[in-house]
């Protein structure tokens, strides 16, 4: 069983990497969350019944772990309908690579929005996203539109 598990995690470890970067902003926290997710996946593996894709099961456990682990308090972010004339973006964003810029951007989203966005970017259907998150299919659509709007507004700053 251990061999099958390790092979599956090795093959799909990138999804854990992405979730860690979505939910934690420092290298140390990302590393800790990665370990925590692998540990929880291993503990849950005996209950995996192959009724869904292994990646769907992994996303479910990994997102749950990332959200249920103690969240460090972050600065509140307020959104307005109108964009201010000048907004300073915190940190030397220009110096960051595209990937880190992307993660900085998505980390500005709410916890639920990050989970939905992850699944949407992985091309899960609205129904699958609803099944994993526990919200209705209609609401998934509403949420995705809001996320796109929010991302647009954030990246215009």
């Amino acid at each position: 069983m251990e061999k099958i598990f390790l092979k599956a995690i090795h093959e799909h470890q990138n999804l854990i990497y992405k979730i860690c970067h979505m939910y934690r902003d420092t290298k140390e926290d990302q590393k800790d969350l990665f370990q925590e997710i692998v540990f929880q996946l291993w503990k849950a593996f005996p209950h995996f019944r192959s009724e869904s894709k292994i990646t769907t099961w992994m996303y479910r456990i990994a997102l749950n772990t990332a959200i249920l682990e103690f969240r460090k308090s972050k600065l509140p972010i307020s959104y307005s309908d109108q964009l201010p004339d000048q907004v300073s973006v915190p940190g030397p964003v220009e110096e960051l690579d595209q990937e880190e810029q992307m993660y900085q951007l998505v980390r500005c989203l709410d916890v639920s929005e990050r989970a939905i966005l992850t699944l949407y970017l992985e091309e899960y259907s609205y129904k699958e996203i609803a099944d994993i998150t526990g919200i209705t299919e209609n609401y998934v659509g509403v949420k995705i539109n809001r996320i796109k709007e929010k991302l647009k507004s954030l990246s215009n700053r």
Binding site: H10, F39, H47, L63, N64, F70, Q98, I132, I135, S155
Partner: protein, 182 residues
């Protein structure tokens, strides 16, 4: 960054692949980042409390104090250690099945139960320890003031602990709100 660039960056994003041996290490509880620290704290606290149980009769005149006070102190120390163990188990086994929304809901219930037990255990431990230490003291006005000061400090610490628990529970309640249709 528009949505299409975000999607393409997402697809390209990948970390340095970890070897199976490295992943295997992560399946061991000893490698768990948070549990490692909590376990050390738990062992230290439990060790200290058990040590107190062994020496209190000589060092704190336990033998000269009423039997019921001794029993209450023993019970309170047991409750304190039990609280540490329950907290450790809750962190080790978070609810990670079902939908994300139901997991968070169940997690809140667990945290709520833990917070009540933890606060009660701390309050009982403080009260019984204080009763034990003061049971043979002849009180004067100054000593009453000192006792009042100690009780006030204990109440403030309990309130701070309650506030920490509430803050943590509220942060999860916010997540539930985010997952609720409006």
């Amino acid at each position: 960054m528009d949505f299409e660039s975000l999607k393409s960056n997402w697809e390209k994003s990948q970390g340095t692949p970890k070897q199976e041996s490295e992943l295997k290490q992560m399946t061991h509880i000893n490698q768990h980042p948070a549990l490692k620290k909590i376990r050390v704290r738990l062992i230290l606290e439990a060790g200290l409390l058990v040590f107190i149980l062994f020496i209190y009769r000589d060092w704190f005149d336990g033998a000269h104090k009423p039997l019921y006070i001794n029993i209450l102190l023993g019970i309170s120390i047991f409750l304190f250690i039990l609280n540490d163990v329950l907290s450790y188990l809750a962190i080790k086994n978070p609810v990670v099945s079902g939908t994300i929304k139901t997991s968070v809901e169940k997690h809140i219930v667990t945290l709520r139960r833990l917070s009540v037990f933890s606060l009660l255990a701390s309050a009982i431990y403080s009260a019984f320890l204080l009763s034990f230490l003061t049971s043979t003291i002849h009180f004067t006005t100054i000593k009453y003031f000192m006792l009042a000061g100690i009780i006030c400090t204990m109440l403030i610490l309990l309130y701070a602990s309650y506030w920490q628990w509430e803050k943590r529970i509220r942060s999860f309640a916010e997540v539930i709100k985010e997952f609720t249709d409006v």
